[in-house]
Amino acid sequence: MDSSVFFSLRLSLQVAIAATVLIVVIGVPIAYLLARKNFPGKELLDIILTLPLVLPPTVTGYYLILAFGRNGVVGRYLYNWFDWSIMFTWYAAVIASFVVALPLMIKTGRAALEGVDRNLVNAAYTLGHSEWETALKVTLPLAKRGLLAGIVLSFARALGEFGATLMLAGNIPGKTDTMPLAIYSLSASGEQEQAAGMVVLLTFVAALFLYLANRYSRRIF
């Protein structure tokens, strides 16, 4: 395998795994809050976090530049304090993948958590278990299939992220060219054979993950 192809494959996996870890750590608690708690602005939060699912990725990417660009809401502090910008680094690819794939975790996870019988949660409370313990021992285990499906779908989506990544991380060979971006570059420069190899590989991986997601979530999809 060509070393640049290998680099892209490795980078794609690295970005998708990092984004998925973030999605689990941040997305599962958010899905839990949306499923179990009532607070002002709850549905608005759901809408904002779900928007990347329906917006063109370039629009999501644009918002991310507003947030993380050198003059961005967050990016300006990073730049002022550390003389560093996240733009055009592989971290930016992680953020782009995270934001675009997060809604799949939240939607699937919320549905799965809402599907857990309220009486089981109440039973755990009357048996003396705190909300935290109940979440860990009852709610999350019972929503396991849906949560796993959400994780698998998010990973597959993160692996295929293109538009927002292009906007935020750029398409820098050997630095930020994940497989989707590398395919775009190869195809644009007429290197169809190499592009085709990556296309087949990416299709196969995506199909495998969809199969896994289906297995875990027959009740949901």
């Binding site: 009486n119 089981l120 109440n122 409370y125 009357t126 048996l127 705190s130």
Partner: protein, 254 residues
């Protein structure tokens, strides 16, 4: 020992306003569906909060709106058996029962667990999941789980309603034995007059969010306070009166 409840709670188009107390006995909350019986249990257990009032069990205040006391469900020493039993489907029978041992000292847990599985005849079921055991067995597991912490009061929300008649009658005997063994005050919610007559030491009759009569079971069945109570108990009058006379005489000689 006992439980005293005096609460008001308004929920969509319905107001509950009840006041009653029980000692170390089996008290039946009786009335049609929708009269506020289950809601009362939820308020007692702390799963919902009354608008105002006082709830006390064995002298401990669980809720007092004037003194701004409201214990969480975890802080209340209550065993609650839900209508659908609420056994955890992802845990074995053993894990379900041990899940009820929260706060029980480690060395006592094993001892109590064995006491429970012996008392409830579930020795052979330990490794099974709730989906693999029968309705009556599930009931027994739910009771064992609810009693692991030695609660001050046992709350039963129509736990037998899903069972067929022979098993219901068997479970009535089981519940009487359980009272004898564990000496725990029991509040049983039911809309089945036969069940009320067979089990109750005292009866609290609910109608549309209020208590319309309460007292020893025999008194309530023999002398309904008014036409409304009589109507609630009607239809099964003869059988009921037989039941409760027996029950009443038993309780007088006991």
């Amino acid at each position: 020992m006992g439980l005293s409840v005096s609460v008001k709670k308004a929920v969509k188009g319905f107001t509950l306003d009840v006041s009653w107390q029980i000692g170390n006995e089996l008290a039946v909350l009786f009335g049609f569906s929708g009269s506020g019986k289950s809601l009362t249990l939820q308020l007692v257990a702390g799963l919902m909060k009354p608008d105002s009032g006082v709830i006390k069990a064995n002298g401990t205040i669980y809720f007092d709106s004037e003194r701004n006391i409201s214990a969480t469900p975890q802080q209340r020493s209550l065993g609650y058996v839900f209508q659908d039993l609420a056994l955890f489907p992802h845990m074995t029978v053993k894990q379900n029962i041990l899940f009820g041992a929260k706060g029980v000292p480690k060395r006592e847990t094993a001892e109590r667990y064995h006491e429970m599985i012996d008392a409830f005849y579930i020795n052979d079921l330990e490794k099974k999941r709730p989906s693999e055991i029968s309705g009556g067995q599930k009931q027994r597991v739910a009771f064992a789980r609810a009693l692991m912490r030695r609660p001050d009061v046992l709350l039963l929300d129509e736990p037998f309603s899903a069972l067929d008649t022979p098993l219901r009658i068997e479970m009535r005997a089981f519940l009487k034995d359980l009272r004898k063994t564990f000496q725990v005050p029991v509040v049983l919610v039911t809309h089945d007059a036969g069940e009320a007559a067979a089990l109750a030491d005292s009866i609290i009759v609910y109608s549309e969010g209020s208590v319309i009569q309460s007292g020893p079971a025999g008194d309530v069945f023999n002398n309904p306070a008014d036409e409304r109570v009589g109507r609630l108990l009607s239809g099964q009058e003869t059988a009921l009166r037989t039941f409760c006379r027996q029950n009443y005489n038993e309780s007088r000689t006991a």
